[in-house]
């Protein structure tokens, strides 16, 4: 009897264990399967989100109101391309954006070239003006000295007439800087070129040097002088 009882107990235990093991196995299979489904769902959500964001970004890049620099636009496009999204609409947008950015790059290079050329021309013009100014300054200062040292009035007057040829009018303004103090220039009372040349003639002294020449149509409209 006892043996029979033991056998029955053993048989019940074994069944129970089997049931438990089977239940656990079923549960883990279901769980793994459910996890896989969840992961796929998450991946899909991520891709959908990337697609939406990429479309928005690409449309923004294609818009004329986009405020990003060309460099920033290129970086954004490269990032979107790196997602390798398999979507027809995104693919088309990427193509359009690439074409647009190539155009923009070309335009920017052309603009840079125009600006470089403009700067180069300005430098050339400035150097030309500087050279002319230097030559003219030397010529004028030389004339001033010759007027001061003229042997007689007629010689001085001849030099004055010659010098006036460089000015738009004999009434062209002359400013004489007597000093610069804390960035502020002190001038003599403004005068005209005819009066200044006559002053040199009358006083027989040329005490100022040329500081700056202001031109108008290749002639001097204003002369800035400074004490030597």
């Amino acid at each position: 009897m006892n043996k029979l009882q033991l056998l029955i107990n053993y048989s019940v235990n074994m069944k129970l264990k089997t049931i438990i093991i089977l239940t656990l196995t079923v549960l883990s299979v279901v769980s793994i399967s459910s996890c896989k489904v969840s992961q796929k769902k998450l991946e899909k959500q991520r891709l959908d989100s990337l697609l939406t964001r990429s479309k928005v970004e690409l449309n923004s890049l294609l818009s004329d109101t986009c405020t990003k620099t060309l460099d920033e636009k290129e970086k954004t496009l490269a990032t979107i391309k790196s997602y390798q999204l398999r979507n027809l609409e995104v693919g088309e947008l990427i193509n359009k954006t690439e074409k647009k950015l190539i155009g923009e790059k070309k335009a920017e290079l052309e603009k840079e070239e125009v600006e470089r050329q403009k700067k180069h021309n300005e430098e050339l013009e400035l150097n030309k003006v500087k050279k002319i100014t230097k030559t003219l300054s030397e010529k004028l200062e030389n004339n001033f000295q010759e007027i001061a040292e003229a042997e007689n009035n007629s010689q001085a007057d001849k030099l004055i007439r010659e010098t006036l040829e460089y000015f738009i009018t004999d009434q062209a303004n002359v400013l004489i800087i007597i000093g610069e103090f804390n960035g502020e220039k002190d001038y003599e009372k403004p005068t005209t070129i005819i009066k200044y040349l006559n002053l040199i003639k009358d006083t027989r002294k040329s005490i100022n040097k040329i500081e700056k020449i202001h031109y108008q149509n290749d002639k001097i409209k204003l002369l800035e002088l400074k004490r030597k």
Binding site: N153, N173, L175, I178, G179, F181, N182, E184, K185, D186, Y187, E188, K189, P190, K195, N198, L199, D202, T203, R204, I207, H214, K221, L222
Partner: protein
């Protein structure tokens, strides 16, 4: 407490006054400019008085010389033969100088210097006095020479003004000469 307030007020006034004063270098530039104008006048007087100067040229120089003066300024004229000093309006003086009855005239100014420094007045103008010595030498047709040396005091007015020329803000010192008084006459 009252003492402290008084000291603070005095200090503020002193600081304000010193802030308005010109730096010594700037003042020196202004002094030199005024001296330069007196030197210019000496050249003009020499040209106007010179009998070799053309009439038109003398008139041009008179115009320039008049620009150096305050309106209504006068100049004292003395002679060795009289103690009297006659004052002429500056334009009249130049006209008279041009017509002096000598065959040759030589006028020289020397020892041009300040006897009273340029000092700022309540109206903002600077006023000073520059003294000069004038040697006059006149020779008649007959070869008779008249020579005298006169010490003259010239009142100088300097005013700060600003203007705009071709877009450039120009702050300038307007130097004008006032009355010229005779202080000594000798042989």
């Amino acid at each position: 407490m009252k003492k402290y307030i008084t000291v603070i007020i005095l200090l503020t006034i002193t600081l304000n006054l010193s802030a308005q004063e010109l730096s010594p270098v700037r003042k020196q530039a202004m002094d030199s400019l005024a001296l330069e104008k007196v030197r210019d006048l000496s050249k003009y007087i020499s040209i106007i008085g010179n009998k070799d100067t053309d009439w038109s040229e003398a008139n041009r120089v008179i115009e320039r010389a008049l620009e150096l003066f305050m309106p209504e300024s006068s100049i004292g004229v003395s002679t060795l033969s009289s103690n009297q000093i006659i004052y002429y309006q500056i334009a009249k003086y130049f006209e008279r100088l041009m017509q002096l009855n000598y065959d040759k005239i030589k006028i020289e100014w020397y020892k041009i210097q300040y006897i009273s420094d340029l000092i700022k007045q309540p109206d903002g103008k600077y006023v000073g006095v520059i003294t000069i010595y004038q040697r006059f030498e006149g020779t008649t047709e007959e070869g008779i020479k008249y020579v005298d040396t006169t010490k003259k005091d010239i009142t100088i007015y300097v005013e700060r003004k600003t203007t705009q020329i071709d877009g450039i803000k120009v702050g300038f010192w307007d130097v004008l000469l006032g009355d010229i008084k005779v202080s000594e006459t000798s042989r």
